[in-house]
Assembly symmetry: C2
Homo-oligomer: 434 residues x 2
């Protein structure tokens, strides 16, 4: 007779199934809250006297274009570039696809075409920019006089030099025909409205997709100083670009951009707030740690494990049952040759750190639907995950050492696969503790 | 006329002075809450029929001995080892000092003496163990038949192999004459009471100082499997130690240790709770994230920066004014040749990540009073720290790259110097946000 035990077991399984379903629901709710079809329409400007042109770049931008088409009564045309596989069937706005995270020929071709389209605009015309994360790679063109090869080389040298990412981005912006507000400047004297879905911690619109329509506060002197600091050699052409004010990207207070409007229509915070409301409705107290969390994924996982233990042992920072939420963008320093993205790497390290701690379930996914380079958005974790892995002879530590978090969760059949969501507010993490 | 500006400036300075004073007060309150003189006496057992012997090892253990002496009416003798400079003037218990974090000859000599002292004990006698963090190094002796040189070599090989810390500790315990409950077993048939100040995340008494008086749940087979997994060669003597049940450390359910009592008298949680109460009293809502937070110090700092930004921008996870508290033990992977410990490294990375974010002050200190190998417990951070460093031409990123966090905060005159506190519940971090 083992009825009591079986009942406990089946109760546990039901709990686990419920927890998994709830976590997945929280992720879906988060993504739905930042779906371009939900967030773009309320911010559309009034139609202009003249023409309306839509230009856009980013993983969410094709779907943003679809949202414009569905909600725009007047005349409309345009060109939007998104990642391969992220397209939407638009009728009036042309959608093209290009390379991400590494630009390809399509990235350059579409950049040239967009610059051309801005040439004949008048003050009666309106340009609606649809900008989202990934646009920096999808829309890429060196500044006039600079070869693609040299721009690439400078980029490689900077990456090797140990320069900070904001330093690298500063140089990139000042060597581009598109970034740092140059594409918007090219639209002058048309009206310009930028609708932005932010995937960057802090939601600075000048940083999303390197700001093709929004200048930032760095100047050419900054870019020169960075190249000097890391002793990166540049050609006379690049030097001229960074010295001649006439060739520089517009400054943040450029008169010609003064009337441009910039609206961030979706952020990680909106996604987290929606998930928090859904958790609350399901009877779990939500706690949002941060929408702009950064750090090496496996170390961020250790911090989360410490918090989970604290909830269970001391009811801090919040009593259970609860859901701990965070967003932002973690980093993976690749040392092995396995498969996996930031979110599965975070989860594998969390699995090891929690080591089967009862009551803790988790989900971590990229809101764009693709975590890294595989087919999954992320994965799920449950208290039994480590024991299940051990039973399958899948070694968690070895997988982590090899950066093969995808392989680990694939073996457990715990990957979350959504396909491209066609929006992008970066990472989404939730720990459910009961 | 610039009165308004001056007033604002002086107000800001007053705020900063207040914030610094409060953070320092929180740290002092945290340390006071786990002072051996406060926490040991309530847990002292009744005097035995026979002799009472005090044995102890750890950074807090000399002060624990002082607490016993001050509160023990009957006959008393004993031997306690602490770190150089951590002694206390005891009369009946002999205090010796030894090497930490690397054992030295004094560590071995005192271990031999303690084993000798346990030889003649009877069932009428009482042994009070006073165990605290650092004891593993301060009290160190290879198991019989194993040379010091081989024990050292196995340790070095394990560290190089990438073995997890709990794996390394498992092997260490099983190759020791002291650890894993062996010292307590040697006291049989005396009564044994262990009073423990925990510096380990999770507060498992078998882990503090590698548990000289408390066996853990690993067995010799585990140690053998770990050595095999990482292909560490061992001598026939070491092999015998790990194969012969008669030579093994006691198991966690050993009959001879059944009546032993183990009391954890101070934890990181007690320190954090005391600081939280003090913050509350000062008008700042406290939030304890975790008392067992682990992870690479500079990455844990990025997580804290994300949380600070969230408090300021969204009033989450808690509205300001607030104090965010955490404890545990971070890690520093040393790549440079600068000076500094876990806490100053955390703070330097936090300074860079916050980059002068208004309203955020912080303190991070080791509760034992020594952060790493210098003379400071930790350091303070204020919104102006980065600007002040820039004025002094002190490059924060260069200092972090060189693991020279001590040099950075020394230049700012923001080190916190307390000297040894003679207690030890690991790291203490507080961010004050207003």
């Amino acid at each position: 007779m083992n009825t009591g035990h079986s009942e406990t077991h089946s109760l546990k399984e039901r709990h686990t199934a419920n927890a998994r379903a709830l976590l997945r629901h929280l992720f879906d709710t988060a993504v739905a809250a930042v779906d371009p079809l939900a967030v773009v329409a309320p911010h559309l400007p009034a139609p202009p006297k003249g023409r309306t042109i839509v230009l856009g770049a980013g993983k969410a931008s094709a779907r943003m274009a679809l949202a414009v088409e569905q909600n725009w009564a007047g005349e409309l045309s345009g060109l939007v570039v998104t990642r391969y596989g992220y397209g939407e069937p638009c009728k009036r706005i042309e959608i093209v696809e290009a390379g991400h995270p590494v630009p390809d020929d399509a990235s350059h071709a579409v950049a040239c075409r967009m610059l051309d389209m801005t040439k004949s605009l008048t003050a009666d015309d309106l340009v609606i920019f649809l900008i989202s994360g990934g646009g920096s790679s999808l829309l890429s063109l060196p500044a006039p006089g600079l070869s693609l090869e040299e721009k690439r080389q400078i980029n490689i040298e900077l990456l090797k030099s140990g320069a900070a990412i904001n330093e690298i981005n500063c140089v990139r912006r000042h060597l581009s025909s598109i970034k740092g507000g140059r594409l918007a400047l090219s639209c002058y004297p048309a009206q310009v409205v930028s609708l932005i879905i932010s995937d960057v911690p802090g939601d600075n619109p000048a940083v999303v997709a390197s700001g093709p329509s929004v200048p930032d506060r760095t100047i050419t002197e900054d870019a020169r100083a960075i190249l000097k600091k890391y002793a990166i050699p540049v050609s006379p052409a690049a030097h001229a670009l960074l010295s001649d004010p006439a060739l520089a990207a517009p400054s943040h207070d450029d008169e010609r951009l003064r009337d441009n409007r910039t609206i961030v229509v979706a952020t990680a915070q909106q996604a987290l707030d929606a998930a928090a409301a859904a958790a609350s409705k399901a009877g779990y107290a939500p706690l949002i740690l941060s929408g702009s969390m950064e750090g090496e994924a496996r170390e961020v996982a250790l911090v989360h494990a410490g918090i989970a233990r604290q909830v269970i042992q001391y009811g801090q920072p919040i009593p259970k049952p609860c859901v701990i939420l965070s967003g932002g963008e973690t980093t993976v320093t690749v040392r092995g040759n396995g498969r996996g993205g930031r979110n599965t790497e975070f989860m594998l390290a969390l699995a090891i750190a929690l080591d089967g701690l009862p009551g803790v379930h988790a989900i971590a996914c990229d809101t764009d639907g693709i975590d890294g380079t595989e087919d999954n958005a992320g994965c799920l974790l449950e208290p039994r995950s480590m024991a299940r892995a051990a039973k399958l002879a899948v070694d968690a530590r070895a997988h982590l050492a090899n950066n093969d978090s995808y392989g680990f969760f694939e073996a457990l059949d715990d990957l979350v696969v959504t396909g491209p969501t066609r929006t992008n507010v970066n990472d989404f993490r939730a720990m459910l503790i009961e």
